[in-house]
C-alpha cells in the first residue's frame, strides 16, 4: 500500500514537474519581452523625460498631478468613451443581427457568409484609408451618387460628432464580424428544441427570443462586449489615418493623446503617465473578464 502510494505520489510529482517545464519557455518569453517594457513604462511615468526641454532624472508624482488638471486629457477620455460605447454597441447589434440572419440561410447560399467575414480580414490601416476615401466628399462615390439626385451629403470629418461617427463606422465595419462569429458560435450551442418547445407552447417569436434565446446568449454577448471594449481603448490607426485627432482636438482619444504627448510634444514622461492610466483601466476590465472566464478554464 505505502509503496504503491509513494510510487503514485512520485508519478504525480513528476507529472506536475512536466507541466511546469512546459510553461518555462512561455514564462521566459513573457518576462523578457513584455515585463521589461512594462517596467520601463512605469519608470518613465514617474520621470521627467522630455526630448527637447532636457531631463534631470528627477522622479515623483508630478505627471500624475498634472493629469488631474489637464483639460485635454479630460476631453480625450470623453472622446474615448464616445468612440468605445457607440462602436461596441453598433458592433454587437449588427453582429447579432447578421448572426441570427445567417442562421436562417442554408444550402449553397451559405458561402455568402464570406461577404460578411471579409471586413474582418482587412488590416486596420487599410480600413481607415478606405473609409477616409469614402468620407472625402471630392472622391467619395456616396457623395457623387446623392449629388445625382441633388442631395448634398454633409462632410463628416468637419464636425466633432461627424468625425466620431466616421471613426465608429469604420471601426464597426471591420469589427462586427468578430461579434458575429462569437454569437454564431453561441447560437450553435442553443438547442433548437428549446425554441420549438416554446413555440408549441404558444409563445410569440419575440417572447421566445427574449425569454429563451437571449438569456442563453448573454454570456457570449457579455464576452464580446468586454473584448471589444478593451480593444477600443487602443484606438489608433483609425484616428491616426482618418482625422489626426481633428477637427480641432475633437477626436483625440486618450491613446492617441498619449501618442501626441510622446511624439509631437516630446513629453515622453507625461505620455507614459497617460499610458499607465490606460493600462490600469485595461487591468481592471481584464480582471473582470478573467473572472468570467474562470468557469471555463477550471
Amino acid at each position: 500500500m505505502t509503496a504503491q502510494a509513494q510510487l503514485r505520489k512520485g508519478a504525480t510529482y513528476q507529472l506536475q514537474r512536466g507541466y511546469r517545464l512546459m510553461m518555462v519557455p512561455a514564462l521566459l518569453a513573457v518576462a523578457i519581452f513584455a515585463i521589461v517594457p512594462l517596467a520601463g513604462m512605469f519608470a518613465l511615468s514617474f520621470s521627467d523625460y522630455h526630448l527637447i526641454r532636457g531631463t534631470n532624472w528627477e522622479f515623483g508624482f508630478h505627471n500624475f498631478a498634472k493629469m488631474l488638471a489637464d483639460k485635454r486629457l479630460m476631453n480625450s477620455i470623453y472622446v474615448m468613451a464616445a468612440l468605445s460605447v457607440l462602436g461596441v454597441a453598433a458592433q454587437v447589434l449588427i453582429g447579432s443581427a447578421v448572426a441570427v440572419g445567417l442562421q436562417k440561410i442554408t444550402g449553397r447560399w451559405r458561402v455568402g457568409r464570406i461577404l460578411f467575414l471579409l471586413p474582418y480580414a482587412v488590416p486596420h490601416v487599410a480600413v481607415a484609408l478606405i473609409w477616409l476615401s469614402l468620407f472625402t466628399p471630392t472622391l467619395s462615390p456616396i457623395n457623387a451618387f446623392f449629388d445625382v439626385f441633388g442631395i448634398t451629403v454633409p462632410a463628416m470629418l468637419t464636425s466633432q460628432w461627424g468625425a466620431i461617427f466616421a471613426i465608429v463606422v469604420a471601426d464597426t465595419w471591420t469589427n462586427f464580424p468578430f461579434a458575429m462569429l462569437i454569437i454564431m458560435a453561441a447560437l450553435q450551442g442553443i438547442s433548437p428544441d428549446l425554441e420549438e418547445a416554446a413555440a408549441i407552447d404558444g409563445a410569440s417569436r419575440i417572447r421566445t427570443f427574449i425569454h429563451i434565446t437571449l438569456p442563453l446568449l448573454a454570456p457570449a454577448l457579455l464576452m464580446v462586449t468586454l473584448f471589444r471594449f478593451i480593444d477600443s481603448l487602443k484606438h489608433f490607426p483609425m484616428i491616426f489615418v482618418m482625422t489626426k485627432g481633428g477637427p480641432g482636438r475633437s477626436t483625440q482619444a486618450t491613446n492617441f493623446y498619449a501618442y501626441v504627448q510622446t511624439f509631437q510634444s516630446s513629453n515622453v514622461a507625461y505620455g507614459a503617465a497617460i499610458a499607465v492610466m490606460l493600462f490600469l483601466m485595461a487591468a481592471l476590465i481584464s480582471f473582470y473578464v478573467a473572472k468570467l472566464n474562470q468557469r471555463v478554464t477550471s
Partner: protein, 276 residues
C-alpha cells in the same frame, strides 16, 4: 391562421430587407476599392458612371515597381514567424495551465489577458531603447519578438480554454497506461484541441499581420511591413488613392482564404469559450 401567415411574411420581408442593407454596408467598401484600383489617374475624382471606361491595369503595374511588394514579404515573414514561435511556446503552456495543479491560475489568466489587451503606446519607448541597446532595430528578429508580445498571450490564453474542454480523464487514463506526458500531449490532447489550435494560429497571424504601431516604431527600410508601407502613398503634396486601393487588396487577399477555411474552426473553438 391567415393573419399569422401574413405576419410571417412581413417578418420575413423585414428580415430580408435588413440583411440586404447590412450586406450593402459590408460589401460597399470592398466594391469601391476594386473600382478605385482599376481607375485611370485622370478619372479618379469622377463618378464611375460618368466615365465607366476609364479603367486601367497601370495601377497594379505601378505598385509592383514600388517598395510595397518587399514590404508585403516582410509582413509574411514576421507574422508567420511570430505565429510559429507563439504556437511552439504557447500551446504547451496553455496545456499545462489547463491541466496542472497550480495555485495562482487566476492571476496567470489575468496577466495573459492584460498583456494581450494593454495599449502599446506606453511600451514603445522602453522597447525602443531596449532594442537600440541590443541592435534589434530594423531586424526581423526584433519585430518577431515584438509581435510575440501580442501573439503569445493570445495563443496561450485561447489554448488554455481549448484544452480545458478536453476531459481530464482522457489524459489521466493515458498516463495511467504508462504513456509519458509528452505522448499524452501529442497523441490525445492536441488532436482533441485541433480546432482551437487552428483558430488560435489564425487569430495570432491576423493580429501580427494587422499591426501598425510596432512596425511604425521599430522598423526601418529593411523590414518595413505592408501596413506601414501603405502610408508611404500619402506624400507631401498628393495622395495616391489608386495605389492605396491596390495595396489594400494586396493586404487583404492573403487573409481571405485563411478566413474562409478557418471560420468553421473559429466558431467551433469560440463556442467552447462562450458556453455559459
Amino acid at each position: 391562421m391567415i393573419d399569422n401567415s401574413r405576419q410571417f411574411h412581413n417578418r420575413r420581408r423585414f428580415g430580408l430587407a435588413m440583411m440586404i442593407t447590412l450586406l450593402v454596408f459590408a460589401a460597399l467598401p470592398t466594391v469601391w476599392v476594386l473600382v478605385l484600383s482599376f481607375r485611370a489617374p485622370v478619372a479618379i475624382f469622377e463618378p464611375i458612371w460618368e466615365s465607366p471606361t476609364a479603367l486601367t491595369l497601370q495601377n497594379f503595374y505601378k505598385i509592383t515597381r514600388s517598395d510595397f511588394p518587399a514590404a508585403l514579404l516582410n509582413s509574411f515573414i514576421t507574422a508567420g514567424l511570430s505565429t510559429t514561435f507563439a504556437m511552439l511556446v504557447g500551446v504547451p503552456a496553455g496545456f499545462a495551465l489547463a491541466k496542472a495543479r497550480l495555485s495562482g491560475k487566476f492571476i496567470a489568466s489575468w496577466v495573459l489577458l492584460l498583456l494581450r489587451m494593454a495599449p502599446p503606446v506606453g511600451f514603445v519607448i522602453p522597447l525602443f531603447l531596449l532594442y537600440a541597446n541590443s541592435g534589434l532595430i530594423d531586424t526581423y528578429l526584433g519585430l518577431v519578438f515584438a509581435y510575440m508580445t501580442l501573439t503569445l498571450p493570445l495563443v496561450t490564453w485561447s489554448m488554455w480554454n481549448s484544452f480545458a474542454q478536453v476531459p481530464d480523464e482522457l489524459i489521466e487514463a493515458a498516463i495511467m497506461d504508462d504513456a509519458s506526458l509528452a505522448k499524452a500531449f501529442f497523441l490525445i490532447a492536441l488532436p482533441a484541441a485541433r480546432p482551437g489550435a487552428v483558430a488560435a494560429a489564425i487569430l495570432a497571424f491576423l493580429v501580427a499581420w494587422n499591426d501598425f504601431f510596432y512596425a511604425l516604431i521599430i522598423t526601418r527600410s529593411g523590414t518595413t511591413t505592408a501596413p506601414v508601407a501603405v502610408m508611404n502613398f500619402i506624400s507631401y503634396d498628393s495622395v495616391d488613392w489608386a495605389s492605396i486601393a491596390v495595396a489594400s487588396i494586396a493586404l487583404t487577399l492573403p487573409i481571405l482564404p485563411l478566413m474562409a477555411l478557418a471560420n468553421r474552426y473559429i466558431v467551433q473553438s469560440l463556442s467552447g469559450a462562450v458556453k455559459g
